[in-house]
Symmetry: D2
Subunit: 132 residues, 4 copies
């Protein structure tokens, strides 16, 4: 599979819970950071948009937890984005452990963009991200 | 709708991000805490299970973000659980804002229990939680 | 000791780390939430100030970790505030476990207020909070 | 100043709060991760110690917040460790923004090691970390 963006991370021990593995909630943090870096790499700054009162928001998240990341693990978050309707886009994101490439998590994150009045609108800048 | 368990929360400002609303990842924290309190209310202690090296784990999470919680909001996390296969159970969880009962989030969290060797097994204690 | 404000919390399992106790960083979250609720109880809304581009900021934190909170623990964060200079205030905050009142953490948090241009200034609303 | 260890980070947007800057609590996360990587670089694995029921714990933290990290900032956490008594050690940690080397945070973190019975003891492995 080919991805439009990938980013390496190391597990941080404060992300692990009493089970000794990364807490379920922390994966959404990883995925968000990878999406924002993906956008940034294409010249779209999440924080500048917020300053201009344009908000990218998640409307649905689906996460399949395939295996657990642990202390000292390194991993890659790989991301693609596609348009799924006039107003909505979907990130497909996968987490692979380094170095064995084990597939740890698979996610679909559906989002939309809200204008200054909080209404969904077509953010033209996103079109340059979509798979051709 | 009737729920087997409900728990009230207040938004904490550190859970809000630069958009001025609760960050997407924080909802999984709310849902986890509500599930653990639900289990605890039925005599099942998450931390005691961990000490006995029995782990309840999430295998899939689906979250529909319907509206955004903000600073000073109060809300209720309402939960049900049902068995969906011999080894898997599903929590249905909804977040309602207080006092207007606006539906903010809807989630399905599918889990299983792992024994000391990390293998899925039937945790009998859970049967007392299932909807009759 | 008498406190101007106190707030009850329950440990949430995602706040615990692989040592099976609340992670050091989570205590700052507890303290912040207690401070903001303290301010709110006196009619000072942290989020409204942010909207008006007035920022309360921490300039120094001192935390003494006396004992560790664990899963299922309940506790109270007790807070006082005093003025320590024209521009700075200090919160004294203590965490006591419920029900045995064991002293778990002691903290001093020094803050100041920044105006729209990011400069320290005297926020008059704070004066009503100070110990007489 | 010379440091025994340094580690680069990027601000992640979920670490920023409604003020649009990194939340105070997140700095303790950065510092902890840097300490654990420092230990790891010297052959001391935090998670292995936990498995052997040996716990490194923080007994006091002092943090001076000099300036605020923001979205898209990159920074270095620089750390030293020294012995301050038979049973206690102190990490001095500084955060510098990249690329302008602005000093953002200065911290002292005092810790000790607890044995299987929760009693402070001299962890010999730490001696190889101390400044000569």
């Amino acid at each position: 599979m080919k991805y439009a963006h990938s980013l390496e991370f190391s597990v941080r021990d404060y992300e692990c819970d009493m089970q000794g593995v990364v807490n379920n909630g922390a994966y959404q943090n990883y995925l968000e950071h990878a999406r924002h870096e993906f956008l940034q790499s294409k010249g779209i700054s999440f924080s500048e948009m917020v300053e201009n009162r344009i908000n990218l928001v998640v409307v649905r998240a689906e996460l399949d937890y395939l295996d657990s990341l642990k202390s000292n693990d390194h991993f890659t978050v790989c991301s693609n984005i596609r348009k799924i309707s006039r107003l909505r886009f979907e990130f497909s994101q996968d987490i692979f452990r380094i170095p064995d490439q084990r597939h740890m998590l698979q996610a679909k994150i559906i989002g939309t963009s809200l204008n200054q009045r909080g209404r969904p609108f077509v953010l033209n800048e996103l079109s340059r991200l979509y798979d051709k």
